[in-house]
């Protein structure tokens, strides 16, 4: 029964055996859960705001073409250059071309999950452009040569000792004491000149405002503004689903996003970037480029995954997921972990490659409950299971077992006989009222005992009682 793809199975095993990882996961997710709950306790209008935010995002998705064109028109009018990329490779090529045109030797980056998704770090390196991650967690994992393990706290899996060692190895003027404050100051020193000397700054976008062509970034560190103001060129990489109609619509979504992610009302820095530096501005980039990326989103729109396009990347689903809480982000083997990752990864990489992720879920529904835009994650995951079944990706052992069960279940007389025999057979393996080991039940009994059935099924014991008249 246990025919998982070898990579996922191994990654899960490794994660489950990593006690340090578990401490880190718990610290992050338990805190996030508590902070979100506290924020909601202070915001009785949350449920109504959630309905409104859901409606706003639904409205945008239903009118995506309209809003994309409106955004482009207004962005261009404000002096931005808008580029369109059908897929990841396109998007990276556009960014590389712009970096080369700017003569960039190094480019600073503020956090963009979309950038990770399209493989921009690798593309920049391959093009010989030094990539300088400025978000502290992204900086840490860049030094470690790793990928993010959470969309809000990418370095949650690193211990302070590991961070300390990385900084001592790579920083020009590292911390002298082993406290986190000193380490953060070391990063601040290390990155300050990089901010100010980069020819190109690359950011993501939390929202794209259609009526103004503005791009919204939210950070707690202030690195988005330090990344995008000093360089001559600011490049935004953004998924096409990031649109909202206007600034007031963004406020509703920001109220949901930040509380769901960290429990605050707003991040420290919420900035709207509209076009390049203007006549008389004291600072700002000379060029402002926005790369609108499809990379599977129009396919998701077409193929019954429309609701997933509402996602505002808050991370609440993974913070509340019992599976994520055991295996962490890396075990998902892709850019996006947790429930949203289990829906997105098959869409971005194909169900064949990502066949395990939709099944590594109990369908308990907590993710949908905490999603600020009401994405029906369990329904979408079951949809992937359905697709995987129809494409023959389910292991033969599972198919056979389910076929046998269905065969019996469609034949009540046979079912009655089969279950009566099975419960007698099971009793052969019991010790007291429990079964500790039994053929065909290895997956269960390896980890827990199985209650031994009594000698007769309910239907046998019922006899003629309460028979239908």
């Amino acid at each position: 029964m246990n025919k998982l793809s070898p990579v996922f199975k191994d990654d899960v095993k490794r994660a489950l055996g990593d006690a340090t990882l578990k401490l880190a996961i718990d610290r992050t997710t338990v805190t996030a859960e508590a902070k979100r709950a506290a924020a909601l306790a202070d915001y009785p209008q949350f449920a109504a705001a959630r309905r409104r935010g859901t409606a706003i995002k639904e409205h945008v998705v239903e009118n995506l073409g309209h809003y994309l064109e409106q955004f482009e028109r207004n962005a261009v009018a404000s002096g931005a250059v808008v580029h369109w990329a059908a897929d990841a490779e396109d998007a990276c090529q556009i960014v590389i071309r712009l970096c080369r045109a700017a003569g960039a030797t190094h480019a600073t980056r503020s956090k963009s999950m979309l950038g990770e998704e399209i493989g921009l770090p690798h593309a920049l390196e391959a093009a010989g452009i030094e990539r300088v991650e400025t978000d502290l967690a992204e900086h840490i994992i860049q030094l470690a040569g790793e990928t993010p393990s959470h969309i809000i706290w990418p370095a949650l899996h690193k211990t302070r000792e590991q961070v300390s060692a990385l900084f001592k190895q790579h920083h020009a003027d590292p911390h002298q004491t082993e406290d986190v404050g000193a380490m953060v100051e070391s990063a601040r020193r290390q990155l300050r000149t990089r901010f100010l000397t980069a020819e190109v700054g690359i950011s993501g976008a939390n929202f794209l405002l259609a009526d103004s062509g503005a791009v919204c970034t939210v950070t707690n560190e202030g690195n988005a503004e330090l990344t995008t103001t000093p360089p001559r060129v600011h490049i935004v990489t953004a998924g096409i689903e990031k649109l909202v109609p206007s600034l007031p619509h963004a406020w509703t979504l920001l109220r949901l996003l930040v509380r769901s992610a960290t429990g605050a009302d707003l991040t420290q820095y919420t900035t709207f970037h509209t076009g390049p530096k203007r006549q008389g501005d004291r600072d700002g980039p000379q060029e402002f480029h926005i790369v609108l990326v499809d990379n599977g989103r129009t396919r998701m729109l077409r193929d019954g995954l429309r609701e997933m396009l509402r996602c505002i990347r808050c991370g609440a689903c993974m913070n509340h997921c019992v599976v994520f809480r055991q295996i962490g982000g890396h075990a998902y083997g892709a850019t996006y972990p947790g429930p949203m990752g289990a829906v997105l990864t098959p869409a971005l990489e194909g169900i064949e490659k990502a066949r395990d992720l939709p099944h590594a879920c109990t369908l308990n529904g907590r993710c949908q409950e905490v999603c600020p835009v009401s994405i029906p994650l369990p329904t979408l995951l079951r949809g992937w299971r359905d697709k995987g079944w129809r494409e023959g990706l389910v292991p033969q052992t599972v198919r056979s077992s389910l076929w046998a069960w269905r065969f019996l279940a469609e034949r009540p007389a046979l079912y009655r006989m089969g279950t009566a025999i099975a419960v007698r057979a099971m009793r052969l393996f019991r010790r007291g009222g429990w079964i500790g080991r039994m053929p065909l039940a290895g997956s269960w009994t390896r980890y827990r005992d199985l209650p031994a059935p009594p000698g007769q099924t309910f239907m046998q014991q019922l006899g003629d009682r309460n028979a239908p008249k």
């Binding site: 246990n2 899960v12 489950l16 019992v322 599976v323 809480r325 055991q326 295996i327 099944h359 590594a360 879920c361 109990t362 369908l363 308990n364 529904g365 907590r366 949908q368 409950e369 329904t379 079951r382 992937w384 299971r385 359905d386 697709k387 079944w389 129809r390 389910v394 599972v398 389910l402 076929w403 069960w405 269905r406 279940a409 469609e410 009540p412 279950t419 099975a422 419960v423 019991r430 007291g432 009222g433 429990w434 997956s443 269960w444 390896r446 980890y447 827990r448 005992d449 199985l450 209650p451 031994a452 059935p453 007769q456 309910f458 239907m459 014991q461 009682r465 309460n466 028979a467 239908p468």
Partner: protein, 257 residues
């Protein structure tokens, strides 16, 4: 009793495959409670499985096939009641999904869904019933199964019923609404992850110091009880319906020798 409840409704009991095979006394407890609540209970002999294993494995056609059988067997009754939030949820919330492309059966699925109830919520919300004269001096903690909680809104009803059991002291379970890791086929496909999840659940149960863990779904209860027993815990597990039916003095799950 709510005004709309008929005098002696004709109720069909859907006992569930797990109760039928592993815990028959739950079926008898459900029967007893429904009769005590003034229902005329019939148990259609054609019943087998609600189709959830197939449906949740992605075999929508298989789930739909079993859904049709359940609809055919049960649609003649005023109510269909089952001692499982997960099976009730399957019928109420998912039969219409499984039969979405079947114009002949979809209306019948919708009709059946509207008349299908999980047992504990049926007793409280529809029959307005409370147990009388049931005593069990013990401490217990309650696990809220995910389907019952999130698909059917079952939270207050089990507690309202158990409150009436004399001598039974309920202790709150930290993370009562957190999944136990059963997830139907999930615990078979991903047993190591399921074990890690139920390990935390078992620790939370033991931390309450309660004698008993109660719930409304056998799958969850078997998972938790099996884990607790493997870990050497003295906590014993019952379905809440068994306690309400006065069977709390009998063998707990895993004690039927």
């Amino acid at each position: 009793m709510p005004d709309h409840a008929p005098a002696r409704p004709r109720v069909a009991l859907f006992v569930t495959c797990l109760a039928d095979t592993i815990r028959p006394r739950l079926g008898f407890a459900a029967l007893q409670l429904l009769e005590a609540a003034g229902c005329d209970v019939e148990i259609p002999r054609a019943q087998t499985c609600c189709g959830q294993p197939a449906f949740n494995s992605g075999d929508t056609a298989g789930g739909a096939a079993l859904a049709r059988r359940v609809i055919a067997a049960f649609e003649g009754y005023e109510y269909i009641v089952t001692p499982s939030g997960s099976c009730a949820g399957m019928i109420r919330a998912h039969y219409v999904e499984a039969l979405a492309d079947d114009p002949a059966w979809l209306p019948r699925a919708k009709a059946l869904a509207a008349r299908t109830h999980e047992l504990l919520s049926f007793l409280v919300d529809i029959r307005g019933w409370r147990p009388e004269g049931v005593a069990l001096p013990a401490t217990a903690t309650y696990h809220d199964s995910c389907s019952g909680l999130r698909e059917l809104g079952i939270l207050q009803q089990p507690r309202a019923l158990l409150r009436e059991v004399e001598g039974l002291q309920m202790r709150p379970l930290t993370g009562n609404d957190v999944c136990c890791g059963f997830g139907g086929t999930f615990c078979i496909k991903y047993p190591a992850i399921a074990d890690a999840i139920v390990g935390e659940k078992a620790a939370a149960i033991e931390a309450t110091g309660a004698d008993l863990v109660l719930g409304g779904d056998l799958g969850c209860l078997m998972n938790m009880a099996g884990a607790l027993h493997r870990r050497g815990s003295r906590v014993r597990a019952f379905h809440a319906a068994e306690i309400l039916a006065g069977m709390g003095g009998g063998p707990a799950i895993g004690e039927e020798a």
